[in-house]
Symmetry: C2
Subunit: 466 residues, 2 copies
């Protein structure tokens, strides 16, 4: 289907769109239960308090898997499994960064994921680039003996997070140009929409699997404002920095999988989840303790019904999302043989604010069922969005690439990038009421998807045409 | 006057209350000019950008005096002087603090002013105190080998800052009890109303000029929440910390004084000001770059009138306010002989939000003139408050104690303690529009006070009764 037109909702009474009234009734009761339940909040409180920050590949991430296994066992799941994989470990180490000319002032910075260590106490003059586009025009070697600074603007706020991609360019590829230019280090304005003194971390992009050989440091928006003002006053700026960030060799990470085995079609899987790892600066409450909590609580509320739904509901708590979807890739590889049986997949990984929209990308014949789900969760303040919207969340990308149908419950992301990847990502930023709304929407969505007979998958292409 | 009743405004037409129409007209024009001027913002932008943080007694505070001297010379003042004094210097040094049991997690902490260094890498179990009152009940030696943690609540928000005093008890005197108990260190929940991951610094109180001999560290509200939750789960907590904070001996600080010499009564002084030093974590924009900017800009706009007002207008940019009003005390001592000629004093040191109230504490016969000033600035959204309200700002305390009459233009402090003494006290937190409203109110107030014949001082007590 090449159409990009807005999907016109199918008549509720057509055969293909019918969701049995008993299913709708149960979904409705699940919503009521979820709105009164504190389970989601209790889960994210427990994860952030009892485990704390949990960097991909770290000992803390291992403790998070142990915590998740214990949680799964204490709830009503039929199967709890830990599925390990191997990954390269990048550790932040120590960072010191300060302005030394025109005067000494500490800056609030943090290394970006993949940053290399500084070999010595580095002190060098700054070359200022207004945007990431400007540094792409430099000549090789032009930055020898210098520290490059890429400014830019604070990230534009938006309900959908539309500002993230453009703002993130300097984080992803800035280093490639700084390094080509011969810079001793790259400093960038954080990718974030807040005006607090926190830097935002996050992974750089590799250059065909080659990582930066220089330190790459993000500084807070107010710090970047400060350097911009000094630059505009034509002050010569020097920075000094010392960073211990480096790759530490291979370690074990893992995904934790909770199954509610379908009573009728146990091999057909409706997959939901979040990621268990977090950046190390905060305690990973909104990114992505919330997703772990929302999807686990939604499945648990379904598990407390008198009968299992027809299909299997699987909660995957992915490891090592932040450093390149490593858990998601491992899951797709380890479950390659059963991906055809994944009938629908979605992840919660966009914070903890209320959901406002339902989008989907399923077999068009099943759009009417998604529309029916949309009508069911409308009372939660959720609008039915595009029916041809690829997505499902970051950890769903490898599944979607393998043909797994996806839906997405879009949270309001207006303030998400105030907190994202900062020390400020802590439990107090989560509203129990907003979290309960999320659990209610997921519970209804997942229950209907697992209980109905709807075929979300596209018909298989005929394999042997000859 | 023992009355605490709300002051009833005097009739505008009584002789004592009359402010000449020409004075009111000029004050009104000053307000218009100030609201259109960007001078205040330019001053605080320059101070925070070109000097940065400026800890009392530091090289940076010296650069701030140099900056102020240059600023005063570039403006229209008749006299610019730097008045030095000697003070003991406390430097923050390096701090590392982390939770080590039940797991390792970095905490966001900062040493309180006056904190002693740790003698080694300290690691000890935590004794939890729910409030500062609880630690006052311990026995001597009861905390041997332990780190005391005083929790409490986030500071209550209020327009007047009423939450500060009560919340600040743990910062001021907590150490005395922890030290008496034998604790190796004291950690407290920050005195602040925000939920960001920033600790708030600030000075401890000495105990009869004895300072703490243990490290005393404030941690952010979210970090304190975290420790509280672990405590409520009955987890044994250990902290490790290393602090290099210490006293460094005597250094030179100073006040910078700008005078507009009165055309008629040059010896009578209307004193306004702010403090030039700041804590070192932020760049001292709202505390107190704003006060420096507001009062300097107000005086400068008056200086641009065709004639000097009758009385002298003096702007004092106090040094070393944060560490115990040292500049204010030095000013009062160095100017002891002329304090009787200080007819009115006030300081701007409560942030950069709009002024909402005018309070005063002057000769009751002159209340009507203050009322008249109140009517003049009413259009700025300012209400006339109590006429028997001691105050004038922290650096005015020594002057008020010597009998100098005071007024206060109260800024809205609701959000002040979100930023106060944190890294987040940076220029972006200041609204140029709110700052201009402040300049307008100060310009009108100071102009009328300096131009009028009103006697704000109390009649002198008869010295020789016999
Ligand atoms: Zn995430
Ligand atoms: Zn993330
Ligand atoms: Zn202050
Ligand atoms: Zn202060």
């Amino acid at each position: 289907c090449m159409s990009t037109a807005i999907h016109a909702q199918t008549d509720d009474n057509s055969t293909s769109s019918r969701i049995e009234p008993a299913i709708l009734e149960t979904a409705n009761a699940l919503i009521d239960t979820a709105l009164k339940s504190n389970l989601g909040y209790e889960i994210v409180e427990s994860l952030t308090t009892e485990v704390g920050p949990r960097l991909a590949g770290s000992e803390a991430e291992k403790r998070a898997r142990d915590w998740a296994e214990k949680l799964g066992d204490s709830l009503s799941f039929d199967r709890v499994s830990v599925e390990e994989f191997t990954m390269p470990f990048w550790d932040r180490g120590h960072l010191h960064i300060s302005l030394t000319q025109p005067y000494k002032q500490a800056l609030y910075g943090t290394a970006l994921g993949g940053s290399a260590p500084s070999t010595e106490d580095l002190e060098a003059p700054v070359v200022y680039f207004r945007t990431v586009h400007d540094i792409q025009n430099i000549n090789d070697g032009e930055l020898n003996g210098k520290i490059a600074f890429i400014d830019g603007e604070p990230m534009v706020k938006s309900q959908t997070g539309a500002g993230y991609g453009p703002s993130n360019q300097k984080r992803r590829i800035g280093w490639q140009h700084a390094q080509r230019g011969g810079a001793s280090a790259l400093v960038i304005r954080s990718v974030g929409s807040d005006s607090h003194r926190f830097p935002h971390t996050g992974m750089m992009s590799s250059d065909n699997n080659n990582w930066a050989t220089i330190p790459v440091i993000a500084i807070s928006n107010p710090d970047a404002d400060h350097l911009r003002r000094l630059h505009e006053l034509n002050k010569t700026m020097h920075l000094s920095l010392h960073s211990g960030s480096d790759w530490q060799g291979d370690v074990t990470s893992g995904n934790v999988v909770f199954d509610l085995v379908g009573r009728d079609k146990p091999d057909e899987i409706v997959l939901i989840g979040g990621h268990l790892d977090s950046w190390d600066l905060g305690t990973g409450a909104v990114d992505d303790g919330a997703g772990v909590a929302i999807t686990t609580a939604a499945a648990e509320l379904i598990a407390r019904l008198p009968h299992r739904p027809r299909r299997t509901i699987r909660v995957v708590l992915f490891g090592a999302e932040e450093v390149g979807l490593l858990g998601a890739r491992a899951y797709a590889a380890q479950h390659a043989a059963e991906l055809n049986n994944h009938v629908l997949a979605t992840e919660s990984d966009f914070g903890a604010e209320k959901i406002w929209r339902l989008r989907s990308n399923v077999n068009p014949d099943a759009n009417a069922v998604i529309d029916g789900i949309g009508r069911q969760i409308e009372r939660l303040g959720i609008v039915r969005g595009d029916a041809k919207s690829p997505g499902g969340g970051p950890d769903i990308i490898p599944l979607a690439a393998a043909g797994v149908p996806t839906v997405r419950l879009d949270q309001n992301g207006t303030d998400y990038f105030d907190l994202h990847h900062t020390p400020d990502d802590t439990l107090d930023k989560i509203s129990p009421e907003a979290l309960a709304q999320n659990v209610a929407a997921y519970a209804a969505l997942v229950y209907i998807a697992a209980e109905s007979e709807a075929e979300f998958r596209l018909p298989k292409a005929t394999e042997d045409k000859e």
